[in-house]
Structures are given as C-alpha cells and as structure tokens.
Symmetry: C2
C-alpha cells in the first residue's frame, strides 16, 4: 500500500469514527432531553445538523498532531478529542451567526433563522426574530456544554492540569476574546488609528481563527499523545501561519467568493462590517474618496449589489487584494517551511501537507 492509499484509508476511518462518536454522543443526550420535553427536539436537531457537515479541519489537525507524536491509529482518545472540537466549532458557529446576523450557514438557514422560521410557520405570538435569537443563544450554550462533556470523556489524559486541558481551555478563551476584538473593531475601528488597522486585523485573525482552527487542535493532538515541548513548538511554527493564511483566504472569499461555492451570499462580510486585513489594506491604500466610500458603506445591512461591486473594484484596483494574496503566500510559505523541518514520519507529514494545501488554496 502506498503512503497516499494508507493516508486516504486512515483519514476516512478517522472521519467516520468521529461521525459515529458524535452520533452516539448526541443520541444519549437526545434521550435525556426528550425526557424533559419533546419540545427540546429542535435544539438537538440543530446541533446534529451542524456537526454532520463541515470540513472536519480541526478534528483532522488534532488527529495528525496525535499521529505525528506517535499516537496509535484510530485510538479512542483522539476520536473523542476530535468530536469535542467539532462540537465546540458548532457552538461557536451558532453564536457567531447571531452576532454577525448571518442568515445562512453552509447553504442552509443558520440556527437563529431556523428558529425564527419555526416561529413563523407555527404562527406563534410576539416577535419571530427575537425568538430565533433567544433559542439560538440557548442552543449554542447547550452545544458548548456538550463539547466540554465530550472533552472530559477523553479521560485521564485530559484531566485538570494536563497539557491537553490547558490547550483546550486556552483555545476557548482565545477564540472568545478574538471574536470580541472582531466586533469591537467593527464599531471602534473607524475611530482608531488607521495606520494600526492592518496589525489589529492580523491580531484578530490570530486569536479568533488561526490559533483555534489549526494551531491549538494540532497541539492538542500532540499533547494527548505525550509530545515533547520541542515538537509542540514545531507544530506551532507550522500551524499558526497556516491558520493565518486560512483566515486571510476566508476574508478574500467573504468579499470575492462565489456564493454557489461558499454557501454564503456575496458581500456578506461587507454587510456585517468586518474590518478584515483585506479591508484594512484597502482603507490604507485607496485614495481618500474611495476610503471614505468603503468606510461609509461597511456594516450597512442594506448594502446592494452595485455597492458590493464598487467596493470589490476599489479593493482590487488599490492593491489591497494583491497585498492580501502576498500575505497569504508568505504565511503559506512559512507554514510549509516549518512543516519540512518537523521530525515526522512520512504518513503524518504527507497528511499535514495535504491538509495545508487544501487550506490555503480553498475556494469555499
């Protein structure tokens, strides 16, 4: 069997094991919740639906971090850890979509929209949108608790004080802090020093996305397998720039992506008012009138297609798109160089290279 075949089989087995674990986990919770009331079913359904899809990027980073540090193929611990990461990701998405007022997620309605629609179709009293938000806050809380329950089920190697637990705790705190910095920049950014905008946007990316999507999951897998500090440092040198490239690509797709491929309406990031690195570059590089245009339009819920097109044109013409693509390349190069230096067997190294390639070149 070639390395490529072994990789494909082992990765497919792991993804299937995580899916199975998530199904088992949610089935046992479903019976507890149904005993309270069948009215709870839509919360559980929303969680199941979210953890069924997705690219499993975090679980896979965790798996290959584990394998790279000598962990056994398909072991229970790393399947459970991957499930906990996927549940955490689902919880973060549910609340993130409320915060960003995103009505779509993976081509379907987001959780708060699902509940607003349920309210509408049932002809319930009071306000649909408010009910949707409230129900989604609670669904996210439940999912966040579930992710923790799943993480605890890893057992002794994730007990209090263990390196794995510290990584999981730090990951959660950092992503929440990063999300706050993100919404803060949306409102405070226009009043803050424009010269610092790119570096603020890069810091936000690091905390809300890069550490959480790639660096911490990889380190978590390594720590669970008992990796030495030196290997974990090497993992970070690879995964942090990879995560930064990943989020920069996400920001480019948020403005220029094809809605059919991304599953999100074109220009959604602009309507949300996200002050990404791409936008920070544009505000810096475009002329005063064009910068003022972007500043005025950013965060307008009613932003039309013509405005979106005009902002795209400015971003491309002023060189902001190019500057961001250069950054993505730089981060990508840094990640691949660090990967080359990692003392890993061929299988995990190939797997991480494939994951990294898919991450920096993705279109959705």
């Amino acid at each position: 069997m070639t390395v490529a075949e072994q990789l494909r089989l082992e990765q497919a087995a792991y993804v299937a094991a995580v899916a199975g674990k998530l199904t088992d986990f949610l089935t046992t919770r479903q019976s507890v919740m149904s005993a309270i009331s069948p009215d709870i079913d839509p919360l559980m359904g929303s969680i199941s639906n979210l953890v069924t899809g997705g690219k499993r990027l975090r679980a896979l980073m965790c798996y290959w971090g584990w394998r790279g540090a000598g962990g056994e193929a398909g072991a229970d611990e790393v399947v459970t850890a991957g499930s906990a990461l996927e549940l955490f990701q689902a919880a973060a998405l549910i609340h993130d979509d409320i915060i960003d007022r995103s009505d779509t997620r993976r081509g379907g309605p987001s959780v708060h929209r699902r509940f607003s629609e349920l309210h509408g179709t049932q002809g319930w009293a009071l306000d649909s949108e408010r009910f949707g938000h409230a129900a989604a806050i609670l669904t996210g809380d439940l999912c966040l608790s579930f992710s923790e329950e799943a993480f605890t089920e890893i057992g002794q190697s994730a007990a209090a004080g263990s390196r794995s637990r510290l990584i999981f705790n730090l990951m959660r705190a950092e992503v929440m802090a990063g999300q706050y910095l993100d919404i803060l920049e949306e409102v405070a950014g226009p009043r803050r020093d424009r010269a610092g905008a790119v570096s603020r946007a890069q810091s936000i990316i690091r905390f809300k996305s890069a550490k959480y999507s790639t660096e911490h999951p990889l380190a978590l897998g390594g720590a669970l397998a008992g990796a030495r500090d030196e290997l974990l440092r090497g993992y970070s040198a690879f995964a942090l720039p990879l995560g930064e490239a990943f989020q920069l690509r996400d920001d480019v797709l948020g403005v220029f992506g094809d809605p059919v491929t991304t599953g999100k309406p074109a220009g959604d990031d602009l309507r949300e008012g996200k002050r990404t690195v791409l936008i920070a570059f544009a505000l810096d590089l475009a002329g005063p009138a064009e910068s003022a245009f972007i500043d005025a339009k950013l965060g307008s819920p009613g932003l039309g297609d013509a405005d979106v097109d005009e902002i795209r044109r400015i971003i491309a013409d002023c060189g902001a798109l190019k500057a961001t693509e250069v950054l993505i390349e730089d981060f990508g190069r840094a990640a691949f160089s660090a990967l080359d230096l990692l003392p890993l067997d061929e299988l995990p190294k190939t797997a991480l290279r494939r994951l990294a390639e898919a991450t920096v070149s993705r279109a959705a």
Copy 2:
C-alpha cells in the same frame, strides 16, 4: 460554642473561601486575557462584577450537601465546586438577561446594557444595542467556559463518569432546556391548551430553576463527599420542592415585588411576557374579558404602570395570587417535612433549615 454560632462562623468562612477562590481564578485568567489585548478587560470586569454579588444560594446548598454527607469543613473540593456553580450562575444570568431583554441586574445595568452604554459613551460606530448583545453573548460564553474550568479543577472526584460530573452535566442541560421551554411558552403558550398551562408552567419552573438552584447543587455536594444513593434521594425530596417554592416566590416578586428590594423595575416579568404559574392561574381563574386583557398585554415592551396595576388587581382578585401562595406553602411544607426525615447531624440540618426559610420567605 452553640450550633448557631458554629454555623455562622463556618458558613462565613466558606463564603469567604469561595469569594477568594473566584478572585484567584479570575486573576489568573485576567493575565491570560490581558496578554491578548487590554480591550478584553470589560468582559472580565463584567464577570468579576457578577460573581462578587449574589446570595451564593447554589454554593451554600452544595456546601451543606457536602457537610451533611460527612465532608470535611472548608475542604478545597467543595470550595472549588461552589466557585464553579457561581460562575455557571453568572453565565446563565448574562445570557438570560439578553434573552429576557432585562436592562437591570441587582440594581445595576445588566451586562448587555453595560456594553451598549460603553458603545454610547465611546461614540463608536454602528448600533449600540446590537454591539451590547454581541459582547454579552461572548462574555457569557467565556464565563460558561470558566465555570467548566473551575469544575474540572475539583480533580479526581469530578472526573469523567463520576457522579458529581453527571450531576453537573445534567444540571447544565436541564437549565438550558428549561430556559428554552420558558421562551417557547411565551410565544406558543397563547396557542396551546389553556387547561394545561399551569402544569406546563410548573414543569418549566422545575427545569429552569428548581433543579438547578437547589436540587442539583445539594446533590453535587453530597456526591462529592461520597453520599450513598439513599441520602441523595432524601436530598432531592427536600430540595426539589424547596426550589419550586423558591421560583414561585420569584414569580410573585416579579409582579408584586418592591423594585427597591428586588433591584428590578416593577412589572418586568409582565413586559417580558413570562407565562409563569401565577399568570397561568390568572388566565384560568379570571373572567373572559380579564383573561383577554392579560393575554393582550403580556409581552408588550411598552407596558405602562396603569396596565401593570390592572394586571396585578386581576391576579389578586381572581384568586391566582392566593392559589400561588398556597402552592408555595405546600412546596415549603413538603420541603421541611423531607428535611426532618434526613439523617443529618444537627449542624448541616440547621444550616439547610435556615437556607430553606430564607428561600421561601424572601422579599428579593
């Protein structure tokens, strides 16, 4: 030393130890968060502020459950468990206040209001209210994660699969389910079978409040101290009706309470549209015109003082207030009878009696 003196000293020492533990816990997290950015300070400040106040009901139930089961006075484990419960309560309050659109908490602004006000005073861009809600969602998520971190620090006796862990997990899931049933009843209640409204409202109370405020914390303390199943059953027989009386009292205070004492504006529950047992009784017992009046007014954000007074009059005149007071007495009696049967030493038994008395007769 009399039992009363010993009780006072031991309880004061425990409350101080929990406060000290919470301060230490948040101080270590503060340094992690400040390293990310000083902009995170308002999130940490909101959490500190919330866990500084309060009646510590849940921590105290946990403590006396522990002591009643033979746990050592002032032991680390039960101090840590109490801190985890207080952090969980703070997280629940932050999200609950967003969901209920409550602008005040303990006489001051609620967390989402604090962030909206920060937005206003700083003259930031876009919408104050939306920023407030988003920031409070993230603050609650952070606090929920902290409660879990604190719980894990209990160590081996709260490890995966332990009875304590199962109680903590069930508590979280039930309170989230109960809160969902609560908001569901606000919107779906008017369309549902009126005859079942009182029993639905009682079920909501049980899950969103009684189990979480008294039954589970007491059981958690007992389980940590290794209580046998029989004792835990006895604890439930006492604490569940006590918690039901506690929440029914809360519902009465939500309509009839003195704002100076409760720290919440008069009629807040009516404006929020809460379909409590008190309201369910009123809709059942009042005449058709008066029921229709309550139905029409419930959940109106602009509900004025005259409407609040009229709803109060209807609730009192139709016998709904009396019916609720009778229920509170019944639950209180059931709780005290069950307490008498508990095989506890004089100190924990006296402590639980005092807590129970304060709980059912409280004015705030």
